[in-house]
């Protein structure tokens, strides 16, 4: 790597966060430019995916429990939430939520004398994360719901026989099995989520000051150089790396979840093929 390339990395490495050089290069793109800019955009994809996944995990478990509840006032809203978010394209959801958020009063909402700022919600870092969070919650809720239904009857009966009830029974018996059963599908869901973060800056959310994600820069470079054969494969390369990292982390968790079982090192079957 030449000094020249190091300089480019210094200038554009954190360009997507607004740190470093202000103007994007316009001519004389080198391979180093393309790798640096697209890699810098990748930070956004990682940010969106990680935050949405972390919060979505908690919410999706709540939704799954709601969906399997016998009380209609808990079940119905969960079912509708899952149906709406799984039944419509993520692309439309981005547009819809963006329009919804821009309708909030510009000057903020007056709440008990305090002014609550709302303009930050229309920014991609907040708004798009909320959409991704809701979306992944719905998809993961369906997975966890399926796993919850698949918890062996014998496990529950054994727990009853041992005198487990309520929260303790859920925490010690149902929850671990549910996680174990759901984990392979949930791994796929995590991969799809990282893939769908590529949609953010192509939907309603504008990229402020040209600070976009990996695909945003790949698209910019392809437009500027009229050559799609370099930037898109670079973006693809980065996404493959990200996918491999996700698989590694989730595989480790999977091994831990299955560690008490004989032949526990059952391999995860990764078939990422869902888009929204």
């Amino acid at each position: 790597m030449s000094d020249h390339c190091l300089q480019i990395i210094q200038d554009y490495g954190l360009r997507s966060l607004g740190i470093g050089e202000r103007a994007l290069p316009r001519t004389d793109f080198t391979l180093c430019h393309e790798f640096t800019l697209i890699g810098s955009g990748m930070l956004w994809n990682i940010y969106f995916g990680t935050i949405a996944l972390a919060f979505g995990f908690v919410f999706s478990v709540i939704l799954a429990l709601g969906k399997s509840s016998c009380r209609a006032w808990l079940r119905k809203p969960s079912e509708w939430f899952v149906f709406v978010f799984r039944g419509s394209p993520l692309f439309i959801q981005f547009f819809l939520v963006y329009e919804l958020l821009t309708m909030l009063p510009r000057q903020g909402i007056d709440l008990l004398g305090l002014t609550v700022e709302t303009s930050w919600l229309t920014r991609a870092w907040a708004g798009a994360t909320i959409v991704l969070f809701l979306n992944t919650s719905a998809y993961a809720a369906e997975i966890f719901y399926g796993a919850l239904q698949a918890v062996p009857k014998g496990d529950e009966e054994a727990a009853d026989a041992y005198g487990f009830t309520g929260w303790k029974k859920f925490r010690r018996i149902t929850w671990p099995t549910m996680m174990r059963l759901a984990w392979p599908s949930y791994t796929n869901e995590a991969i799809f989520l990282f893939h769908s973060t590529a949609l953010v800056f192509f939907s309603g959310f504008p990229a402020l000051r040209q600070q976009g994600d990996a695909l945003y820069y790949a698209n910019y470079l392809a437009d500027k150089t009229f050559n799609p054969f370099v930037p898109y494969p670079i973006a693809a390369f980065y996404f493959i790396c990200l996918t491999l990292i996700v698989i590694t982390i989730f595989g480790a968790i999977n091994r831990r979840l299955n560690r008490h079982l004989p032949g526990a090192t059952k391999k995860l079957r990764i078939k990422p093929q869902i888009i929204r």
Partner: protein
């Protein structure tokens, strides 16, 4: 459109709304739903065909062909589909123009890639610069269809490959024992039998395909998303039908459209699944057999 709509500024309430929804641009909006359905109607069989070819190639005993099949099926793993949607149309456009360039203008000496631009001779342009606007639209739509078919073909190949592996081996061996050749086994046993195993995956794929159609917008096709943004945007007083920002409502209509499509598809697939599992040695088929007296 109607005589009573001639002067929009004099209209109020429901009449205004009816005339507003009947404007020429709204009619284009309604036909763009047809564009989406057309895309689905062309892409679904085409990608099934691609998938079929990919799955058969991946099972082939001829090694290079198998590599090709496996490469194609694993193409979509790990990379977001939208990368392909952005990549394939430009790549194909440039590829076609380059091939025409080589054949049509062999005396052209300048390189095609000059710094930051892609230059082919004027005759090689697709569609020709002089062609009417409609051809440009059709060409753009066809490129989009190809991108969709390629990506979803790879998905379908994955599903069909799995389904072919799921057909009980005993059935194939029995067919061989009856003296059928490898080709006959594939045609008479494997392919008819695999559908019941492929259906869950294919129905899933169809749902995904429906939900991928708004990406047409990114490919520059004037689809429902394009018109929803266009029509919903704030119209000032210089327009015949001024209104504030109504994009939210337009997008709600799109949301309802997609939810409806999902619901209908679910119902249709439930019926197909019931039909396909009739007489099958699966749990679904067994349940049906017991239910009929």
């Amino acid at each position: 459109m109607f005589a009573s709509c001639a002067d929009p500024s004099s209209l109020h309430g429901l009449n205004w709304m009816l005339c507003y929804l009947g404007t020429g641009k709204h009619l284009l909006f309604y036909t763009s739903f047809g564009t989406v359905l057309l895309l689905l109607a062309i892409t679904a069989p085409l990608s099934l065909l691609f998938g079929f070819g990919g799955a058969l190639a991946a099972r082939s005993s001829f090694t290079p062909l198998r590599w090709f099949g496996v490469g194609y099926t694993s193409m979509v793993r790990g990379v977001p589909d939208i990368v392909f949607f952005l990549f394939v149309p430009i790549a194909m456009d440039q590829g076609l123009e380059y091939m025409r360039h080589i054949t049509l203008c062999s005396d052209w000496t300048e390189p095609v890639r000059q710094g930051n631009s892609f230059l082919v001779c004027p005759q090689a342009k697709l569609p020709p610069n002089t062609a009417p606007q409609i051809y440009h639209k059709i060409y753009g739509f066809l490129l989009a269809v190809m991108a969709f078919a390629l990506v979803f073909g790879a998905f379908a190949a994955n599903v069909l490959f799995g389904a072919m592996k799921a057909v009980p081996h005993a059935q194939l061996e029995t067919a061989q024992a009856y003296g059928m050749s490898q080709r006959q086994v594939t045609r008479r046993i494997l392919i008819p039998q695999m559908w019941t195993y492929a259906l869950p995956g294919l129905s899933n794929l169809w749902m995904i395909l429906i939900k991928a159609t708004p990406l047409l917008f990114l490919l520059g096709v004037e689809d429902i998303v394009y018109w929803a943004r266009e029509l919903g945007a704030t119209k000032s007083q210089i327009y015949a039908y001024p209104h504030p920002d109504w994009r939210l409502w337009y997008f709600l209509v799109l949301l309802a459209f997609y939810l409806l499509m999902t619901k209908i598809s679910e119902a249709v697939f439930a019926r197909i699944s019931a039909r396909l599992s009739r007489g099958q040695a699966t749990l679904g088929g067994e349940t049906q057999r017991k239910a009929t007296p």
